[in-house]
Amino acid sequence: MIRVSVDSAPIELSVEVAALEERGAGGVATFTGLVRGDDGVTALELEHYPGMTEAVLIDLAEAATSRWELLGVTIVHRVGIMTPGERIVFVGAAAHHRREALDACAYLIDRLKTDAPFWKREQIGEGARWVEARASDGDAAGRWL
């Protein structure tokens, strides 16, 4: 079962986890990305490519289910404006065995970082800057080739 969502509403972690836990799996692995409040960032804005973003996330979830034996995959990404401490992204995988769930979870977030059309803009007091892509993200996604 695949669930993909791109939404400006806050991510309801309990609801997402409960849906994965109900798949009858032996284990659920999750990763949640949060807005960090260091570096003076007061707000973060996420822009995406409507249509393409959702399609990429569905492809990514399907790639994970064909690579590992999974009972559930969830990818939820927030867009719009959020503040420090809020959730940006949630990925989760449910599987009979923990290794599958853990590996799939790492795979989903690594590949999402390089393959999904989202762009972050940091608000720092009165100013704002577009976040630059990091070479380390490409390296992390390359682990899964």
Binding site: E47, Y49, M52, K113, W119, R121, W130, E132
Partner: protein
């Protein structure tokens, strides 16, 4: 052809979407970037560093030397930074 722009590409151009009809000599993404740069100072600023741009044709990522073919929708944007 529908052109879509995201992040600082959108901001520099001043719009996120426009419909344009590139000349026949524009056969790939790199050509398109070069031609767009001639349209306005905002376009020129957005297209100034092609190596910082990424592209999608009909919602699939493509390299900058990809032919436009019968593209209906072409998007130009910086490297992605989600997650």
């Amino acid at each position: 052809m529908d052109l879509l722009y995201f992040a600082w590409v959108r901001e520099r151009i001043g719009t996120g979407q426009e419909r344009l009809d590139p000349p026949e000599a524009v056969v790939n993404i790199a050509d398109l970037i070069g031609w767009l740069a001639t349209l306005s100072p905002g376009h020129a600023e957005a297209m100034r560093e092609p190596e910082r741009l990424r592209a999608a044709i009909d919602q699939r990522f493509v390299p900058l030397d990809a032919p436009l073919g019968n593209a209906r929708e072409v998007a130009l944007f910086p490297p992605v930074t989600g997650g």
